[in-house]
Subunit: 260 residues, 3 copies
């Protein structure tokens, strides 16, 4: 059983380098419904990686913005009526246009209305659900074991990207672990949110949502390691990860990506 | 009369080091009602100091978020109907749960409705009111002399933390001056707002609100001095103060804190 | 015809240095209606250049804030009912008080309601319209040739500041090109928005709107070049341009400004 896994691993690391090249070549636009805290950092992360952000939430405009974008992010970090309406229009547009989209159900563990709204959105078929352990528990009532996330991905016909010390990605059949990253990543606000936006950008250039998710997590993790090496603390780390994403060398990425 | 003051000073500097250690050990969550401009920087300052931020404003959620937090910040920098409703729910929850909370009445000198709302909030018993000279004048109709702030603190049964070239803190009986800081602190937007959030975090780990306020101002001031030494301007200063807060050494803090 | 142009060029470069000195001496307050993504960076850019930001959008307050400011920015990047109402009150106040104001019609190329709203605002007489090539096309139905922008400025009795690889500024009679800048400027979100806020600050200290616009674009361009020289990527570039604006030396500015 080692062989196919090793082949998968090499293929995924190589694929990640290809995703980086495609982002730079094609500059996909990602429309982001995200929280107030994350907007600026998310835009800078997308720009550094080669993508283009747009962020309007107005109901009279968001349909047109999503229709012209290549991917969509729905992040529930700021959970207000404006964003709920925006999300409904945006997801309907993405579905109609066959655009990939990512759901990041931030803080669904904190308040039941968020969890209910997130489950409604999952029924609409996000390409990827990106969440952490407590958020997975809040949505599934299960601890995020390998079996539990495989089952969740299968039953909801989506890809689960579970962040943690080691990130896990599964489409219900394949499963990959990404062991890159740096402790400062937990010390910078909105880094996870920006990572989900990058995941949406990767979906715009890689049709296989499982591979796109693995790539996005590996890209952020490796950029984090590079930034961490030169940082004096979480402030310079947040600056450095933007620099690292912009300068990321494909060979470095293949060499450092710990995908298994 | 020198002796008690000297003892107070040493006690406060030592206490500040203890507060830093407690923030790192206990990672209190601070719910922040703050302005659009300040949200991201405030979250990063709290994370760097060891605390956890949350920032939702939705009326259907904020009660649950505050109930599970260890302290609350109410900053009036963005003064809109959404935040006024959020503040009412949040303060009621904090009062019910006996949580400490900080009022930062930003720009009450600019518009009478803010001043009226701030005075209503002061009647609800904030643990600390953090303000600058013009804001104090707008709320009290007095110049911020030592006598005036002592009297304000006594009559409103709160702690006043007055920022200026030298910061002053009083609970109506004790009074302390903190002479740390750096000129770039006035050149970075939201630094004062982030400082008030840090003050709320300190209240979560130090029950004596007077000592918590002295600690918070000393921590920000010393971090500012450390950041200023390595900064090429206010841009790198804003990055450096986050790094400095994260790396702050307790011995450095005791050695540098100018509390009297 | 070379002579007057050379004289204009020298005069504009010298004038730019004078504008920088005036910003630092007079610290004008600029009230900014701008988008969520840009607020924090815009405030830091204004502070670094010597100006003071204010950003409230509340209808009950914005009139008082604008009345006490020295210039106004109306940026359409976030296009919502709150900002439309804010813009109406703010522009009426600026007109009544004879304050200069800048219109930055962000993304008018993306959605017709923005373009219609922007044209309504242009009829109210902004001192300067700052836009890029696609935004100019969306508003004028013409490619932004020199003739087209001269004509637009004349017919709308405003100054056009067109950003591009080379920036162009015209009041319908005079025209200047500013060839400063750095490629990373396109990789930092809200840099253009912050530049328009700086333009508003320059209008507060230089009555000739044409000269103020040339100065603002030259200041940002030269600061960008200085920041670019020391940057490891767009993250450190965004930090460095704030440092560069703060430290900008008038002699360096005169030497480096490529105005023709």
């Amino acid at each position: 059983m080692q062989r196919p896994q090793a082949a998968l691993r090499n293929g995924l690391a190589q694929g990640t380098a290809g995703v980086v090249a495609s982002l730079r070549a094609r500059a996909p636009r990602v429309h982001c419904i995200t929280n107030d805290v994350a907007q600026n950092f998310t835009a800078n992360v997308l720009l550094a990686a080669g993508a283009m952000p747009s962020m309007t939430l107005s109901p009279e405009e968001i349909g047109a913005f999503v229709a012209g974008a290549q991917a969509l992010l729905v992040n529930l970090g700021t959970f207000d009526a404006k964003r709920r309406e925006a999300a409904s229009i945006a997801v309907a547009t993405a579905t109609h246009k066959h655009l990939p989209w990512v759901l990041d159900p931030v803080f669904v563990d904190r308040a039941p209305p968020r969890a209910a709204f997130a489950l409604d959105l999952i029924r609409l078929g996000p390409s990827v659900v990106r969440l952490n352990h407590v958020e997975f528990f809040a949505l599934s009532a299960n601890e995020p074991s390998r079996d539990a996330i495989l089952s969740f991905a299968r039953s909801h016909r989506t890809v689960v990207a579970l962040s943690g010390e080691t990130d896990l990605v599964t489409d219900g059949e394949r499963i990959a672990a990404i062991a890159n990253g740096h402790p400062y990543m937990a010390k910078v606000t909105a880094l996870g949110c920006a990572g989900s936006a990058l995941l949406a950008a990767c979906l715009a250039v890689e049709q296989d949502a499982f591979r796109a998710a693995v790539s996005a997590l590996a890209i952020m993790g490796v950029a984090g390691e590079l930034a961490g090496a030169g940082a004096a603390g979480p402030g310079s780390f947040a600056v450095g990860i933007v620099d690292a994403l912009h300068g990321l060398n494909e060979a470095t990425l293949v060499a450092r990506a710990k995908v298994s």
